[in-house]
């Protein structure tokens, strides 16, 4: 392994812009691999990737798992419910035990912010943040940027694009990572949410008037609104959230024809999504999922590939 500044992917905030652009560029190659009849390359043969999911997330876990397998890495998965974590084993013991089995990269998902940084202290393996608490979800932001770049035919360049991120910004690691990465790539990001769902000190310009921006933006990024937060003191119970912040038919009609509609999934139909995305030509939600594999392959290759040819055997 070649230790250096590029050893982990913990957050967009702490990562060098050059490295992020390199990942997006590598993802182009990986997307091409994914379109082949046999979408598998030997790049990470003999390497072991461990999915360490302390919070359930079937789609992210499967996306990473598929990405690792397409690079010929071995994978193992520890998910809450099937582990000794439930029996009181500490985080550190779990990480050290798995490390001792020979892990080259941990893919970590945890409901608490900061856990991937703690994991770094307890292992020599590379650590990839697959979502920590409200904090960051860097591969989601990368796959979103990749999706936008692919659709617009301008990879890793969002200069001049206006992006509205709509919904529960405060509790959203997706919003936090996307705001940073899109900004880094030149986009202008606006947060659309009631004050209760913004960060205590908003990290981007914000508005609570979705109607004022819906017809203007190049990208509208709908966040998942957890049903348990409805009717808490954050937003009123009932349909008010959907009325004010949902993508309704009326709002969908006002979207620019060349705008992109995005969602990190899983969608809450009837809450933030009041139209069927398959009825929306602007929706790239399915492409986001596909991009996820290519981008995660690129991330794994970036961290474990030791600068070898993505299609070749590990050096």
């Amino acid at each position: 392994m070649s230790p250096g500044p590029a050893r982990h992917l913990l957050s967009i905030a702490g990562t060098d812009a050059e490295q992020l652009r390199r990942i997006l560029a590598t993802a182009e190659t990986m997307a091409e691999v994914g379109r082949r009849p046999n979408p598998k390359v030997p790049a990470l043969r003999g390497r072991t990737v461990c999915n360490l999911f302390f919070e359930d997330s079937t789609r992210t876990r499967m996306s990473f798992d598929t990405a690792a397998k397409r690079l010929s890495a071995d994978t193992m998965t520890l998910a809450v419910g099937s582990s000794s974590v439930n029996k009181g084993e500490g985080l550190r013991d779990t990480v050290e035990t798995l490390s001792a089995m020979g892990v080259d990269a941990f893919v970590v998902r945890h409901r608490s912010g900061g856990v991937p940084w703690q994991v770094v202290d307890w292992t020599d393996a590379a650590v990839i943040n697959a979502g920590d608490g409200w904090n960051e979800h860097p591969t989601q932001a990368l796959l979103d940027a990749f999706t936008i770049g692919s659709r617009l035919g301008r990879p890793a360049d969002m200069t001049g694009l206006r992006v509205a991120i709509v919904g529960d910004i405060r509790h959203s690691r997706v919003a936090r990572s996307c705001t940073r990465l899109f900004g880094l790539l030149g986009a202008e990001v606006v947060h659309v949410a009631p004050r209760t769902l913004l960060a205590p000190v908003p990290t981007a310009p914000s508005t609570s008037d979705l109607d004022a921006v819906v017809g203007e933006v190049d990208v509208i990024y709908m966040l998942r609104m957890q049903r348990e937060r409805m009717g808490s003191a954050l937003v009123p119970a009932g349909a008010e959230y959907a009325d004010r912040f949902g993508l309704t038919r009326e709002r969908a009609r006002r979207l620019r024809p060349d705008a992109l509609v995005m969602h990190p999934g899983p969608m809450n139909r009837g809450v933030e999504m009041l139209v069927d995305p398959s009825d929306l030509p602007q929706s790239v939600i399915t492409e986001q999922v596909t991009s996820g594999i290519a981008v995660r392959m690129a991330v794994l290759f970036e961290l474990l590939g030791s600068g070898s040819d993505p299609e070749g055997a590990p050096s």
Binding site: A13, G90, L91, R92, H110, S112, G113, G114, V115, W117, Q118, D132, G133, W134, N135, E136, R173, R176, A199, P200, V201, P202, T203
Partner: protein, 444 residues
């Protein structure tokens, strides 16, 4: 300079002695500074003078270049016994206290079981006596089990010497309960100390709410949650005339509220911790649980306001909030890891480094200021004068040292100052006339 006899210059191995000569130091107490040797026998100061001769049966504590001060008093120590002796015991915590220059500590009541009855309080006191390194003054809880509902037996606890009551770890949330507690305790001459935190504003919080937590994506603990309760308790003290002591003030607005209350003559006192005048919320950017503490580390503006409060007398005491936790507890995720940091052994050096005050003000904040609030001013924080109890600290103000978490006397290692270079360290501590720390090492 000739000496008539050949007294023993003390080392940590010197047998227990109750006749001691502190030689060569500068005495610093409420009446100022002067170059004096101090002779101690049978627990009291028996002679002070510029050049005292040591007798053969005396242990000499070398104090050249040092300050000889009344022992420090910590208003806020978590000793974790009974109940959490993996983190700390009364003995290990007393050792840390003695090494930090403390001759008395107030033991916080959030033990298991809670210090809400005579049996537990007596146990804590007895363990302190057994350790023999520091006077351990148990506090009592304000409410039974620190549950915030029913009053603890104030008079029973007062009868066995408890002077300060707190639900620390929790604030008393119910204003009605706090009002009644103040009315009841006030006429007994007791002090109620409040951990100011309106808990409905801090659910799930791991750090200060503000710009930094917004960037780090961590749940925030707003300054307002402290300030609302500071304000409420000031008004309750005004209403009842009973004394309130406000624990670990951390925000600029809290300091302003206390300053105004004191100007109005409200019977309120306050303390601040070394960490709230030396560390800020930005330290959480590496997501280390070592910096998780309650109340949380705040902004630089808050740090400066708390320092100003200590300088101008709005805040009466430095208190450590020494809060040991075993390593595995601090290795949990930030939202699960318990809040708290070690403080006893680093309080002097850290405060010295971050508070721009002269030595007399610094020692006031560490010794006689807190001694009065704790109700131990008859034994601690006394003048260094003939007839006074010999609870003394000898400080080497120029000693430079580096904090090594593994070398601390505490059973836990959760100091945020590992590797930090400090200037100023306790050389000797004398408790009831006996050296308990000699040349920076505990005697037992």
């Amino acid at each position: 300079m000739s000496r008539a006899t050949a007294p023993v210059t003390a080392s940590p191995e010197t047998p227990d002695a109750d006749r001691v000569l502190v030689r060569g130091g500068t005495v610093l107490d409420r009446s100022g500074e002067r170059r004096l040797d101090v002779r101690v026998a049978d627990g009291r100061v028996v002679e002070v003078g510029a050049e005292l001769e040591a007798s053969a049966d005396e242990v000499v504590l070398v104090a050249e270049g040092c300050l000889v001060t009344p022992g420090f008093v910590d208003l806020h120590t978590h000793l974790r016994e009974p109940g959490m002796t993996e983190a700390e015991t009364i003995e290990s915590g007393s050792r840390a206290a003695a090494l930090g220059g403390y001759t008395a500590v107030v033991a916080m009541p959030n033990t298991d079981p809670t210090q809400d009855c005579v049996e537990v309080v007596e146990y804590v006191r007895a363990q302190g006596v057994r350790a023999g390194l520091c006077d351990v003054h148990p506090s009592g809880s304000i409410t039974v089990g620190r549950a915030g509902e029913r009053l603890a037996p104030f008079a029973e606890l007062a009868a066995v010497g408890v002077r300060i009551f707190t639900d620390d770890g929790n604030g008393v949330q119910d204003a009605g309960v706090m009002r009644r507690a103040l009315e009841y305790a006030g006429e007994l001459g007791l002090v109620l100390a409040q951990h100011c935190e309106v808990s409905t504003l801090t659910a799930g919080a791991v750090m200060h709410e503000g710009e930094c937590c917004s960037h780090l994506g961590l749940p925030g603990w707003p300054a307002l949650a402290e300030e609302l309760m500071v304000h409420r308790d000031i008004e309750l003290a005004r209403l009842t005339g009973s004394r309130v002591h406000l624990l670990h003030l951390s925000t600029a607005r809290s300091v302003d509220l206390v300053r105004a209350a004191k100007a109005d003559g409200v019977p309120v006192t306050a303390e601040a911790t070394p960490h709230h005048i030396s560390l800020t919320d930005e330290l959480l950017s590496g997501y280390s649980t070592l910096f998780k503490v309650n109340p949380p580390l705040r902004t630089m503006a808050d740090v400066e306001a708390v320092r100003a409060g200590l300088v101008d007398g709005t805040i009466d005491a430095i208190a450590t909030d020494h809060a040991p936790h075993p390593g595995h507890a601090k290795e949990r995720p930030l939202d699960e890891a318990p809040p708290g940091m070690l403080g006893l052994e680093t309080a002097l050096g850290v405060t010295r480094a971050h508070l721009d005050v002269d030595w007399p003000r610094l020692i006031a904040l560490l010794s006689w200021g807190p001694a009065e609030i704790a109700g131990v001013a008859d034994r601690h924080g006394r003048p260094v004068a003939v007839g006074e109890p010999a609870n003394l600290t000898v400080i080497d103000p120029t000693c430079e040292w580096q904090v090594d978490p593994a070398a601390l006397a505490s059973l836990s290692r959760n100091t945020p100052y590992g590797g930090v270079a400090l200037r100023g360290r306790v050389r000797h501590t004398i408790l009831h006339g006996r050296p308990v720390v000699v040349n920076g090492e505990a005697r037992r």
